[in-house]
Amino acid sequence: MSKAAAPLTNSPEFTVSELSSALKRTVEDTYGNVRVRGEISGFRGPHSSGHCYFSLKDESAKIEAVIWKGVHGRMRFKPQEGLEVIATGKLTTYPGSSKYQIVIEAIEPAGVGALMALMEERKRKLGAEGLFDEARKQLLPWLPEVIGVVTSPTGAVIRDILHRLEDRFPRRVLVWPVKVQGEGSAEQVAAAIHGFNALPEGGAIPRPDLLIVARGGGSLEDLWSFNEEIVVRAAAESMIPLISAVGHETDITLIDFAADKRAPTPTAAAEMAVPVRAELMVEISGFERRMMLCWQRGQESRRNELRAAARALPDLSELLAIPRQRLDGATASLPRALKANTHAHHRRFAQASAGLTLRVLRAQIAHATQRLTVSGERLSLSARALLRQRRDRFTGLEARLKASKLANAQAQRNAITRDRERALRLTERARRALTTLVQRQQARVQASSQLLGALSYRSVLARGFALVRDEQGAALHAAANVGAGARLSIEFADGRVDVTADGDRTAPAREAKPASPAAPKKATKIDQGSLF
């Protein structure tokens, strides 16, 4: 019964894995080797793994592509974004995601147009960096000693170069053998250029003065190595002047722009490299001939000048005749001149001696005497004048002295008068002061005597008190001091009475004591006593 349902589900059931594997087989079998044309898009790589990933696309479709590391390293044309290529490879899917992609084995630009576009693009880029600037160009040496040639060691190119050098000017040539096309050739050419530059000056291998990078004609693809950036940069960086000679006249590669000089062919490069030896030799001998001729001509003209000058020289005797004649004349007149000279001196002597007489001497003495007299007179005159002058001065001083003496005496008198008046005034004041003082003292004495009178014990006596004295006249103050039978004197206001005290009567001490300080009290007691 289960079969009954089978027609409805006739197709077998696959697992996803089965289907994926089946598809993978189908795809890989059917498209194991395809060539596909498309534009590179979304180029990513080379990755750190070395693989490159991108898409190939045309107007309406797109397919993922991959280039494994090993394949990429071998590629002559490296894939580049936007480049239209024909890629050769196989299709594959991997079951993990069932996406298919093309694994590219080889890649080539799709036609000359694509290559040209790539080259233009690269030229623009490197040009923008200044690699092609005229200012970078070096001058070629006029006659290089050693020429380095970077090219294939076999083939027509090196032969052409060597032949042409041989014709013009044989030179030492160093050939750095390289592959000039195909895989790795760009790297080799660049390495050769760097290698020549790295040779030390004066080393075992002579360093070239000039480099020629050469290759014969070929298709654009054949010459492509010389468009590679690595080669162009090496040529631009070369410190040795470099001639590029790649392809035929019409072939242009990027190295031509970076080179210091571009030769249309390898043969032309050899011509640029060296001058023609034979021509140089002719030139040298021409110089030599000219130099000799000029020198000879110079010598000849000098000789002529010498001859002419010699002719112009006057005869020696002629030259001497005139001085000789002068000498003769001088010699003849010499004694005469001597005589004349002596004569002149003699005359001067005569004149002088004539003037030398006594009269002259006397006149001089007279003159001196006169001067002496005059001087004497002037001397006495001036002495008198001096005396008079002194006397005048003295008289003047005397008068001034007298006047000042008088003035001084007057002043002294005035001063004395003033002092005397002052003394008088002071005397008056002293007298008055003394009188006043005496009066004041008298007043004081009077006042004092009145006061004294008032205070005297006599006035007490006048009031009825009496003063008791002992035999010696001393005032007694206490009854204790009075012995029995003592002779006493009592003074009253109007006179004294001598008395004798009674015996053994003892005065009450109480009364006696307070009375003692004052005599009047005692006297009172005595009075009382005497009253009792």
Binding site: W142, L162, L165, L174, A192, F196, I205, M291, S301
Partner: protein, 83 residues
């Protein structure tokens, strides 16, 4: 005598030598060189000419090929036989 005086000429490059030779010829042609100097520069001219000749005769065609080590560095030369 010229050999000693003009020892430096031996070291001149062809280009320098021929330039100097040319200038000597010009000066002599102008005819204004004093006698003594004219003799001297004539002798120098001779020496320069000999140097130029020598350099021209030296021209030897020797062609070598660079040999490189595994790193691509130049290590020596060997004759290159081009047929």
């Amino acid at each position: 005598m010229a050999e000693n005086t003009h020892a430096d000429v031996k070291k001149l490059t062809f280009e320098t030598a021929i330039e100097e030779l040319e200038s000597i010829v010009k000066r002599l042609e102008d005819g204004k060189v004093p006698l003594e100097e004219s003799v001297a520069i004539y002798e120098r001219g001779e020496a320069l000419k000999r140097r130029c000749d020598e350099l021209l005769r030296q021209a030897e065609a020797r062609v070598d090929k660079i040999t490189t080590d595994s790193n691509g560095k130049a290590v020596g030369t060997e004759p290159l036989d081009v047929q």
